[in-house]
Symmetry: C2
Subunit: 325 residues, 2 copies
């Protein structure tokens, strides 16, 4: 099986590449080749002796998607996106990459489908940002996507396109609304959600961290490993029973900031917790208080998607992985 990863240089793309190479297989098939595409040049994976092609390309430019499909990959992971804050700050860029880029990809697949019967599995990463206020305490699979950001609108439009191109038989698509990734590896970033990871990652590394919201804030999380696990699970599923509902909210763990801090205390003691400085930020709070708190992910559960075991497990995995790297 040849696999294409769009957005391969990103946080999830890099981890997915490494896991695919380590496994040497995807679902029941041996991994024969990899095409890695990103506007930022992706790294060439080490320790893989199948065919590898690495390409720096802007997928919002006409022709880029067709070039990415040269090897007719059986599985396409579409992770390339301008993230939330950037899509809000630069409206044109967000629509160009997240909407037009996705549509150009699906159209390029449709062209090959009509000319030669090509029909890949497409795994598309959507987001909880498709949901906007007013929200119930627990959100079910039937709940209306009504985004409060351009990024959420673009992801919701991508979900609709994915369903239509799947219904018409051009591709066999599944969309995954990923929980907020925690503990997100790497440096602190400017995302409004950054502190959810920061108050764990920084203290665990002996560094101070700022908590801009009250301890009572509740949200929905998955570890980076759970996220790539969802993507790999989605790659191998039989989707014939999905009908037109091609996008599923992924299982996660619903915890409060207070529960995050308790898990940190159990894992690393009082000295780690003492590195968290409370510095209420009304701007961040106004964004965060509109976010979903918990989901009933029945449809995803029925397809065998499984959340992290607990928030302690999320933290333990992060500690183990950061010691390894």
């Amino acid at each position: 099986m040849h696999v294409l990863i769009l957005g391969a240089a990103g946080m999830i793309g890099r981890r997915l590449t490494a896991e695919l190479v380590a496994a040497g297989r995807v679902g029941n098939d041996p991994l024969t080749g990899l095409t890695l595409v990103d506007v930022v040049p992706p790294e060439r994976p080490r320790g893989f002796d199948g065919a590898v092609r690495v390409e720096a390309a802007d997928l919002s430019r006409p022709g880029a998607a067709a070039a990415a499909l040269t090897e007719r990959p059986g599985i396409v992971f579409h992770l390339a996106a301008v993230v939330s804050g950037e899509a809000e700050a630069d409206m044109d860029l967000g629509y160009r990459v997240n909407l037009d880029g996705t549509r150009l990809l699906f159209e390029a697949i449709r062209t090959l489908s009509e000319s030669e019967g090509y029909r890949p599995r497409v795994v598309f990463t959507s987001s909880l940002a498709v949901f906007g206020q007013p929200l119930p305490p627990v959100i079910g699979d039937d709940f209306i996507p009504a985004p409060a950001s351009s990024y959420g609108v673009q992801k919701a439009m991508g979900e609709l396109l994915l369903a239509d191109y799947s219904r018409r038989g051009f591709l066999d698509g599944i969309g995954l609304r990923l929980p907020t990734i925690c503990v997100r590896p790497g440096k602190p970033n400017k995302a409004a959600s950054g502190f959810f990871s920061g108050i764990l990652r920084e203290p665990l590394a002996g560094l101070p961290a700022v908590l801009p919201v009250p301890d009572t804030v509740r949200h929905w999380f998955a570890s980076p490993g759970a996220a790539t696990g969802f993507l790999l699970h989605a790659a191998g599923l039989d989707l014939s029973d999905l009908g037109t509902r091609r996008t599923l909210t992924m299982p996660g763990i619903s915890v409060t900031v207070a529960e995050e801090i308790e898990a940190l205390r159990r894992a690393a003691g009082e000295s780690a917790v003492a590195l968290i400085r409370r510095e209420p930020n009304p701007v961040i709070m106004r964004i965060i208080e509109t976010w979903p708190e918990a989901f009933d992910t029945r449809a995803a559960n029925a397809l065998g998607f499984v959340a992290d075991a607990s928030f302690d497990a999320i933290l333990a995995r992060h500690i183990a992985e950061s010691q390894r790297s």
Copy 2:
């Protein structure tokens, strides 16, 4: 107030034009001018002495929307669309008109908004086709749009764009998911839904009609007059409390085919009913059985949108109007 109608040559556009001209006002404002645009040349309205501009233009072509906005209309009714069957048969056409056409319109408004602070009320007609199986017996305002047709996908994407451009302040938009119009005036057409009107309209004119589905089929209806009433009501509303949920399912009447026929019997007697020939059509039935049956339209009700009083009232209105014309 200058009013722009896009899709002015269509069934609803013509009726809306006539009603605006007859009223001489829109909401609390006198009607000072009208711009009528359609790819089919719209008729020039009679009996109106304000400024009128009539234009034949394809709104999916770049520049057409900007030209339509020349008079900076305070209200834009966006009715232009390729309808369901055509959007399914010609995928490129449907996306070009229903998605790109809508996006080009909103972008043209955004350009004027950014350059000169223009911010019109935009009334967008969406459809029940945004909903797909599995459906509950009664669909609430929180229910997920998961369309089973490209037309439904394009309307759902238009709803999302409308919300985003409204949230960003470029326009003040409201989307109306119109019930199926019944009794639709004019000749029988090839729409799968045609019989809902045909089994009334044809017998009332002394003509035979075919019923392709069982009498138990239930669906959601509004008269043509109720539909234009919704559009005019939407034009004058204060929308500041709508938040990001800018599209509302319109109130309607939920009746079965059997109830339609009973209403026909009461209005025109046994001889009219005898003109209906039952001719089961499995293709039409397979389409119709996926359609919604009834809605709880709480959000629209709260804004003062009101359904027809009864199915008998729908029929009586049709009979009165067809005698007048």
